[in-house]
């Protein structure tokens, strides 16, 4: 079961460093910890028209967390703070209750195998929560 977690797509995402690192002069920045496992995510964000124009991530954490951050760097583009907040809640419900993901976030279905692993939900959610924090 658990080995399904580490499908090629997730592994590939976790190794995708195209948006890794720090931005010069970001408009906003946030660092968030997962106290349970010690994972830490730092996001730098530039804004345009109320939405994200550029996002870079620095992750000390597991493959799921890294993959989630990498995905956010592309999927988060043009998203507003409200949309991110909505998605964060929706993703939690997607894991916990099998609810659907909102429009425009379908690529996150790559994380479907995480559903079976309660202790790992937070790994995927952490970058989204950091983005919400950065934008609020």
């Amino acid at each position: 079961m658990s080995s399904n977690l580490y499908q090629d797509k997730i592994i590939a995402l976790s190794k995708d460093l195209s948006n890794a690192g720090r931005l010069d002069k970001p408009d906003t920045t946030a660092t968030l910890d997962n106290p349970l496992c010690g994972d830490r995510v730092t996001l730098d964000i530039k804004l345009k028209n109320n939405g994200i124009s550029e996002l870079s991530h620095h992750v000390r954490g597991c493959a799921l967390c890294k993959a989630s951050a990498a995905l956010l760097a592309t999927e988060g583009k043009a998203k507003t703070s409200e949309e991110l907040m909505e998605m964060t809640v929706a993703l939690e419900n997607y894991f916990k209750e099998g609810k659907k993901l909102p429009e425009g976030w379908q690529t996150y279905e790559v994380f479907a195998p995480v559903k079976d692993h309660k202790s790992r939900y937070d790994c995927v959610l952490l970058p989204l929560k950091a983005a919400v924090e950065a934008l609020s």
């Binding site: 910890d33 106290p35 496992c37 010690g38 692993h117 309660k118 202790s119």
Partner: protein, 406 residues
């Protein structure tokens, strides 16, 4: 639902055990027995999914964490907490009250006052005494009336503007008297003080609603409510808990530790250092579900009628003094008494000889014994499985005691 103590009794293996004589168990205020379903829940957990909680991702650790957090939710529901985050697992009532004394108490200052009542169990007395000694806090005592109730007419005198906390029992483990909580809450709120209730005796008799009670802290133990021992609960208002410093230090209560310093986890974890009582939490959950499966309205009718029979018979006996309220209203089925010519330990021992288990002594309530000018008393306390045979055998036993010491 209907209610029949005898059918309940059959769910408790101890009553089917081949003891040397039948068991009339009336020591429930000390510890209740455990129904098969609770024993099974604990055994099942220990047999099939034992692991340490949190931080582990293997399937056993994940299952243990889930079980533990499910227990927290069940407790929250049972006591009407707003959120499971308000439920802190401790090793018992005593531990829960010490937690408050050390964290909330830590923030008190010299000259601040804490009110305790003369009806308190030592567990809700000694922690405040120790705190008072340590920090120069002043203890004020709310007296009891002759009938076993708190003397609420004295509230005005003992609750002053320096009062920071009223620590009171929800129900006395000696007299069975249920406290008029609203009077305490009103007095406390009028001076901005908090209220801690010791619910060790109350909670086994059915759900409470901490919100409706209007208190700030509520403490109780598993082993008095058909659950394992080694577990207890402190409930605290979330906003209040968030302001409190940690209790014990160790694993699980930190956010991060380094040579530079430490940051602590939010409640409830902040107060749960070390490996928590996991199997015991599983047992507590099963016990609460068991209690919830019972028609408590009917059960209370039965226990009231048992108590009424017992009290009526006792009142007619010369040389027998009931330590507690006379009627059955606003009291739990906890009946303490003294016999003029027989010491409580002798009474308990003779009762034991015919199979009746009661407790004799000061019941960890020496200030109350002092107030009533007695060395101790004998206590018969009822659980959900008791019936008329228990009352009748107890009364026969008292006759026997009289026969021996007459």
């Amino acid at each position: 639902m209907t209610f029949d103590p005898l059918s309940l009794r059959n769910q408790f293996p101890i009553f089917r055990t081949n003891l040397d004589k039948p068991l009339f168990y009336l020591d429930n205020a000390a510890s209740t027995q455990m129904p098969q379903t609770v024993i099974d829940a604990v055994t099942e957990y220990e047999t099939h999914s034992r692991a340490n909680v949190s931080r582990g991702v293997h399937r056993l650790a994940e299952a243990a964490t889930e079980n533990f957090e499910a227990a927290r939710q069940t407790v929250a529901r049972y006591i009407g907490a707003t959120s499971p985050k308000e439920v802190i697992f401790t090793s018992g009532t005593t531990d829960a009250i010490n937690l408050v004394a050390q964290t909330f108490g830590e923030q008190l200052e010299k000259g601040d006052e804490v009110v305790v009542t003369l009806a308190e169990h030592h567990s809700n007395w000694v922690p405040w005494y120790m705190l008072a000694k340590q920090k120069g806090i002043i203890l004020k005592f709310l007296p009891v009336e002759d009938n076993g109730r708190l003397d609420l007419s004295k509230l005005d005198q003992v609750v002053t503007s320096k009062c920071r906390l009223i620590a009171a029992t929800h129900c006395s483990n000696v007299t069975g008297a249920i406290t008029d909580v609203s009077a305490l809450v009103k007095a406390a709120k009028s001076v901005g003080a908090k209220v801690l209730l010791d619910g060790a005796q109350m909670v086994p008799h059915g759900p409470v609603d901490v919100g409706a009670l209007g208190v700030d802290f509520y403490a109780f133990s598993g082993h008095k409510m058909y659950a394992p021992n080694g577990i207890g609960v402190l409930w605290g208002q979330q906003s209040l808990l968030e302001t409190l410093p940690p209790y014990r230090g160790g694993g699980g209560m930190i956010r991060s530790v380094s040579l530079e310093g430490i940051t602590y986890a939010p409640p409830p974890e902040r107060f749960e250092a070390g490996t928590p009582p996991i199997a015991q939490a599983v047992g507590l959950k099963a016990a609460i579900e068991w209690i919830e499966s019972i028609d408590l309205h009917e059960a209370t009718k039965v226990s009231h009628s048992l108590m009424e029979t017992l009290l009526t018979e006792m009142e007619a006996q010369k040389g027998l003094r009931i330590i507690g309220p006379v009627g059955v209203n606003d009291r739990l089925p906890v009946v303490s008494f003294t016999l003029r010519d027989a010491h409580p330990h002798d009474v308990s021992q003779i009762l034991d000889s015919i199979g009746v288990a009661v407790r004799g002594g000061h019941h960890c309530a020496q200030p109350l014994m002092e107030a009533y000018e007695i060395d101790g008393c004998t206590r018969a306390s009822f659980g959900l499985y008791n019936d008329y045979s228990d009352v009748q055998t107890l009364l026969n036993g008292i006759d026997k005691v009289r026969g021996i010491f007459s």
